[in-house]
């Protein structure tokens, strides 16, 4: 096979898409130098016309590398075929304007950075125009750009960006930006093949698991099954005699085997037969955790998350008060690429290779192992096989660095087994949500929502932790027009680690709210759409989304075919407004989700197809957790271990997905997570229509079976 031909064909067939390159050290803004082209933190133009977009965001499949390239492509007026993407290393220049740190999270990638990249592209274009005007001694108004070239008013006045790149690197940043006014089509809004896709269809994309360095060793790890546990003993004397095994690394909460090949390390790990010391958590199980939640819920009023009007008074005066209590389990991420990291230590300096959603923390975790300042560790970003919040953590970095330190200067590649990945995650926390509304006539006069869950922020981002955890309580008050509101949170910690998980708190709160809205509608005696429309009368964009949903979903749906359509609507923090429906059938006792329709309004979609992909993916994410998702705690540890018992949706269970994006106008909002949390309540609402049974505990499948058995 001719590699060159292959890559060239790929390149052409990707509709002229730019290439995807790995990062090399980046120069921050203000360190532009002459002679080597134009170099800033976000954008470089090389003397040979390459336009290098430096993405501050991890590329975990969400496609932000392409979206930011489209923004640069338009504002710089670049030739799309010359755009390359580099993933950024660690630098304050890459801190999110929304999250104030270099963090790929909360769906804030494009919404957070598009403004910076617009400015970066437009600034460089302005300087190119100025430089050309000066070179030709003509007024700047008489020069224009044209896809990577600058054209002047007279014949022969035609220069490539690369020819002026070094010149503009010495120019002062212009005070006034010259905006593009030409009528040529823009990349934004067009259908563009994502820049990372060619490498993802021919197998050449390189994830941390794929990195191969000279002299590299491989590590497999086993952490204590009970979180926080310690190693008591193992069979290392025997294991060390095995061919290819290079050593054992003691970790704070476990043990790793290092070998010349990963399979050798992995099989040696089985032979190691680690025994674990007793812990105070050895008898914790789901029932004891739920009992603790119930106890804390009964004993504490909870801290106020949001309050308006006089909820207590209005609740007291209401003709009727109805209550719904909803429960969700712990959930794992199960990214397709299990946790992995390559690390190397040489002469007191460290290097790490991985796709991290939080590079500064990853670097700090590595530096801490070495006892050196953070800047003695270099972060080499790679694309990652799924993130969903899991790669904001640094546990895999610490482990890889401990192994690398022991085997310095040889690099060590750590790859977790799937079993390790499922049983040592930072889980979407389990919890209980109780909603109470006061109803007088057909009016909802008071809304109260009380949750009990563990916190996430307290461990991960303590500076962001208030009296309450704004992440687990996200969307606890819906976008409906309620005058009198009381939302509270009861903190109840367990020894099970809790972390960010695509859609996080909304996956609990929206399940409760959007299920209960249907319960309220039934109580009042109006249909669920009419109730939502009434409560959103002053939110035209939400009404437009609902109207579109009705149009594409066919709600209220066929009554003859044995299926029913349930709906939901939500607008989580930093993410877009989403109205969603699930068409559900029950055939021969089997629950089938036939179709999910999604209407999302992110304000504006930079890469429309990628936004649709995010909605489709989020729907499947929500569907997996709604139907099957459950991490069970028994004897202090996770019972599930792999995809056979931590079940996720496959193609045969994939509903027909219909997605419509409405661009309701600026500002741009996130699109990564909003398509997920309505799925569970929409399905439960449809099941209620079909069976009259209300499911208040996830996952649905276990509930559904229990109900069918009765």
């Amino acid at each position: 096979m001719n590699e060159l031909t292959t890559s060239r064909r790929l390149f052409l067939q990707a509709s002229g898409a730019g290439a995807f390159v790995l990062a090399f050290p980046v120069l921050a803004e203000g360190t532009r130098r002459g002679g080597e082209g134009y170099r800033t933190a976000y954008l470089k133009i090389t003397p040979d016309d390459e336009v290098i977009v430096i993405s501050p965001l991890a590329e975990i499949g969400q496609g932000t590398s392409t979206a930011l390239s489209m923004v640069i492509g338009d504002t710089l007026d670049a030739d799309w075929g010359r755009i390359l993407v580099e993933l950024a290393s660690v630098d304050p220049a890459y801190n999110s304007p929304i999250l104030f740190q270099q963090l790929t999270g909360a769906s804030t990638g494009t919404s957070g950075f598009n403004g910076i990249f617009r400015k970066a592209g437009a600034t460089a274009r302005t300087m190119l125009l100025q430089a050309a005007a000066r070179r030709w001694n003509v007024p700047v108004e008489q020069v224009q750009t044209q896809a990577g070239r600058i054209i002047g008013p007279r014949l022969g006045m035609d220069v490539r960006y690369g020819e002026l790149a070094s010149t503009i690197s010495l120019m002062p940043v212009p005070e006034k930006i010259i905006e593009r006014t030409d009528a040529r089509p823009r990349f934004e809004g067009a259908r563009i093949t994502r820049i990372d896709l060619p490498s993802k269809v021919d197998g050449s994309a390189q994830y941390a698991v794929d990195l191969r360095l000279p002299g590299m060793l491989y590590a497999a790890v086993a952490a204590a099954p009970v979180f926080g546990g310690k190693l008591k003993s193992d069979q290392r004397a025997e294991v060390l005699k095995r061919k290819g095994v290079r050593g054992i690394v003691d970790l704070p909460n476990g043990v790793a085997v290092v070998a010349e090949r990963w399979w050798t390390a992995r099989t040696a790990l089985d032979a190691l037969q680690p025994e674990w010391a007793e812990t105070p958590h050895d008898s914790v199980n789901d029932a004891s955790i739920m009992a603790q939640f119930e106890r804390d819920f009964a004993a504490q009023p909870g801290v106020v998350v949001e309050q308006r009007g006089s909820p207590e008074q209005m609740m007291g005066k209401a003709h009727k008060v109805i209550t719904g209590r909803y429960q969700v389990p712990f959930l794992a991420h199960a990214t397709m690429e299990p946790m992995s990291c390559v690390a190397r230590v040489e002469r007191g300096r460290g290097e790490i290779w991985l796709g991290s959603q939080h590079p500064a923390n990853a670097r700090a975790a590595a530096a801490k192992v070495l006892g050196v300042p953070d800047d003695r560790v270099t972060y080499h970003p790679l694309i990652a096989g799924g993130g969903f919040g899991r790669r904001q953590e640094t546990d895999m970095v610490q482990q890889a660095m401990m192994a690398a330190k022991q085997f310095s200067p040889r690099p060590v590649k750590l790859i977790w087994t799937r079993e390790e990945d499922v049983s040592h995650d930072f889980y979407r926390p389990a919890g209980i949500s109780e909603i109470k509304v006061g109803i007088t006539g057909s009016e909802i006069v008071a809304y109260s929502h009380r949750q009990v869950t563990p916190s996430i922020l307290a461990r991960m981002y303590p500076v962001a932790m208030k009296e309450f955890d704004s992440v687990v309580t996200d969307a606890v008050v819906p976008p409906y027009e309620f005058q009198h509101v009381d939302a509270r949170w009861v903190r109840s910690e367990t020894h099970v680690p809790a972390g960010m998980w695509r859609s996080v708190g909304a996956s609990q709160t929206v399940f409760a709210i959007e299920s209960f809205i249907d319960e309220i509608a039934a109580e009042i005696g109006i249909d669920e759409l009419a109730l939502r429309r009434k409560l959103l009368a002053k939110t035209p964009r939400a009404l437009a989304a609902l109207d579109k949903l009705v149009e594409i979903s066919g709600w209220p749906g066929p009554t003859s075919s044995g299926s029913a359509i349930g709906i939901g609507l939500s607008h989580k923090w930093q993410d877009c407004l989403v109205a969603q429906s699930a068409q559900v059938a029950i055939r021969d006792g089997r629950l089938i989700v036939e179709r999910i329709c999604t209407v999302a309004d992110p304000g504006r979609a930079v890469n429309r197809d990628a936004v649709i992909a995010q909605m489709e993916g989020a729907a499947i994410w929500g569907l997996s957790s709604a139907l099957f998702g459950q991490i069970t705690i028994a004897n202090g540890c996770v019972s599930e271990s792999n995809f056979h018992d931590y079940r996720v949706v496959r193609l045969s269970e994939t509903p027909i997905l219909d997605t419509v994006i409405i661009e309701g106008g600026d500002p741009i909002e996130g699109t990564g997570e909003g398509g997920s949390p309505n799925v569970a309540p929409a399905i439960c609402n449809a099941i209620y229509k079909l069976t009259g049974k209300r499911i208040r505990r996830l996952p649905i499948m276990t509930q559904f079976m229990e109900q069918e058995d009765r």
Binding site: V201, T335, E337, I383, L651
Partner: protein
Amino acid sequence: MAEFELNGKAVSVEVDAGTPLLWVLRDDLGLTGTKYGCGIAQCGACTVHMNGEATRSCLLPIEDVHGARVTTIEGLGQGGLHPVQELWLKHQVPQCGYCQSGMIMAAAALLSENPNPSDEDIMARMTNICRCGTYSRVRAALEEARGGNRMGAPA
């Protein structure tokens, strides 16, 4: 020692007989397009073609590969892009991309046996797991492959 044909070339490897083909491909032969996802033949990220059939390589001992013809994602296109890879690009199927080598190998094997697979064939054969949730685009690509005939809802 195991000898087999890999992407059209004869290879021989000196590894323990029980080593799964996946790890021989990745760590001994340097072909990392085939991925580890579960190690128990559940997710399909490790799918290769063995004698033309979609085969999960994570549990397949190298001794059982002796004499076989193996194709990986790197060899699927034979110098260009395989039509399935072209469809994957056209429909922008991959997100994180990690499962897609296996997904593409499963689809290519399915279509080579039956260029016009039924909904049931597709559902039975495309059992690979994708956590990004790209299934609807996998469906769309396969619908185009079978002449634009749309798939129905799951039944």
